[in-house]
């Protein structure tokens, strides 16, 4: 009697302790999020001014902005999406429509999952060996290619998953009308999976807009405004890296301003992606 009561109490205590700890773990996780966001917001807001968007990156000791880096980031990211997204959609289509089951499809899906979480610096080294070294110079195009390798697996995966969700009745209905399979895919399946695919592309954009490591030795950096794709080009993450590692106070301020811009952009993008997907779902029902 006494023993069982003791045991019961010990079990209840252990339960309470475990649940309290799980609550603490969650608070612990949220605590860092708030701390990091707060730091970025405060330091970035101090350094935020119109010159950020109108002036190019300054030499040490002078004031300036990040206009060339912002432009470079936009250009490189757009190019990366232009290369990575179409290939990703097509490859995802192959997985979902032609290789849904079977060894080869499983194998490619497996490799894609690994590419999805491969270290981005390794992809940068790959593009260095592939493009930069043969060409003999760093280039914005190489940077875009490195980022495209990050875009590719994200888009492949979402496209594959979204196409698998399209009901088979839709394929059968279209095929029974005599529509060729490629037309069924392009005009019916892609259209009905579009919200999911667009979300995947938006998430890929969010991922690459803060990506630094693969740009370090592909697009490199550039102090001046340039739109030449075969020359080194500045980007916001690389500029942040350069400025934050420097000993100059006003460069630190610029780095924080850049960090704030990137963070806000990434967070808004992922919120927009979620909102878009949810809205599309509601519309379907």
């Amino acid at each position: 009697m006494n023993i069982s009561e003791k045991l019961y109490r010990r079990r209840r205590l252990r339960n309470a302790a475990a649940l309290a700890l799980s609550g603490c773990a969650t608070v612990f996780g949220l605590f860092w999020l708030l701390w990091i966001l707060w730091t970025t917001l405060v330091n970035g807001a101090h350094a935020l001014n119109p010159a950020l968007f109108t002036h190019s990156t300054p030499p040490p000791g002078e004031s300036g902005g990040l206009a060339n880096a912002l432009f470079g980031s936009l250009l490189i990211s757009a190019l990366a999406l232009a290369i990575g997204a179409p290939i990703g959609v097509l490859a995802g289509t192959w997985l979902a429509e032609y290789a849904r089951r079977g060894r080869l499809g499983e194998f490619i899906r497996f490799l894609n999952d690994i590419l999805l979480s491969a270290p981005s610096i390794v992809l940068g080294l790959f593009v260095y060996a592939l493009v930069v070294k043969p060409a003999g110079h760093f280039s914005a195009f190489a940077g875009a290619l490195a980022l495209a390798l990050i875009v590719l697996p994200i888009v492949v995966r979402t496209c594959d998953e979204m196409l698998q969700l399209v009901p088979n009745a839709m394929r059968e209905a279209a095929l029974s009308l005599g529509v060729p399979q490629w037309k069924v895919t392009v005009q019916i399946l892609w259209r009905s999976a579009r919200p999911g695919i667009v979300t995947g592309i938006l998430l890929a954009l969010a991922r690459i807009s803060g990506e630094t490591a693969p740009l370090l030795f592909t697009a490199l950096n550039n102090q001046y405004w340039t739109a030449k794709l075969d020359a080194p080009m500045a980007s916001v993450p690389v500029a942040i890296f350069q400025f934050a590692m420097s000993p100059y106070e006003d460069w630190h301020a610029l780095a924080w301003a850049g960090a704030l811009v990137v963070t806000v952009f990434v967070l808004l993008l992922s919120l927009a992606a979620r909102w878009y997907l949810r809205r599309a779902h509601v519309a379907h029902d």
């Binding site: 969650t26 949220l30 979480s117 080294l125 630094t212 370090l216 030795f217």
Partner: protein, 319 residues
Amino acid sequence: MNASIAITTTPSRSNGDRAFRWLVGGCAALVALALLGAALSMAWGGREAFATFGWKFLISTDWDAVNHRFGALVPVIGTLVTALIAMLIAVPVSFGIALFLTEVAPAWLRAPVASAIELLAGIPSIIYGMWGLFVFAPFMAAHVDPWIDAHLGSLPAIGIFFSGPPLGLGMLTAGIVLAIMVIPFISSVMREVFLTVPARLKESAYALGSTTWEVAWHIVLPYTRQAVIGGVFLGLGRALGETMAVTFVLGNAHQLTASLLMPGNSIAAVIANEFTEADSELYRSSLIALGFLLFVVTFAVLVVARLMLRQMERKQGRA
């Protein structure tokens, strides 16, 4: 029969189908080619270093650009130690978060907290790095490092791991920043698989008088074990390959010390810091060889992760 008739009567249609099939198949092959190409190009780029130093490359602590002697041991150990610290912190915390979000928290709290934790995963790693360098490292130097040095540094046997000057930058700081980065990845995998445990299993255990903790430990965790291990390895792969956050807070020092408070180096950080400054072919080749080692290790870890997660998916498919 019917299919072959259709093809012979409308050749243009079948040509379009065939071309489309080749197009999408070719794009899928590009995925495999990208991964294969990355591996081969790094093995090729690092061949000079491997040929010059042989197996000694793996066990040498040299890193001397002037005399052209390079070894991988310091960055390899730095990578492993920081990732290990990160996992020691991140795994229990992630389990706690997943448990809280699936079994403990009231329903209205679950979705917003889960999204907030996932926001952590979306923050670019360079932001973690800046925060680590300007905010967290000074905090460690002022408050945490001195305490560790004073209280743990004098212990017998394990003291050498915890003694050192309060620099703020070092293995411990890098490990903690990495832990913060991988917590959202591991906890979201755990949360998702915890949600897939059949309600009847849990309810049976509750009906026998189990506490919530006992259900989590004896029912939920065994049922999801493979996926949980997969999620942990996914986080480990991320921690091993993470570059920017570590580069900022590791201190970039080529030295081998037992103390976690001392600055060190990691594979990714060495490459990020020194690649564009490498002034000789051998130097550059050594850095690419380091990249190859990183690729091989993360590849192995990620293969384990994906196999585990896949087995769980199969189990679900059958259930």
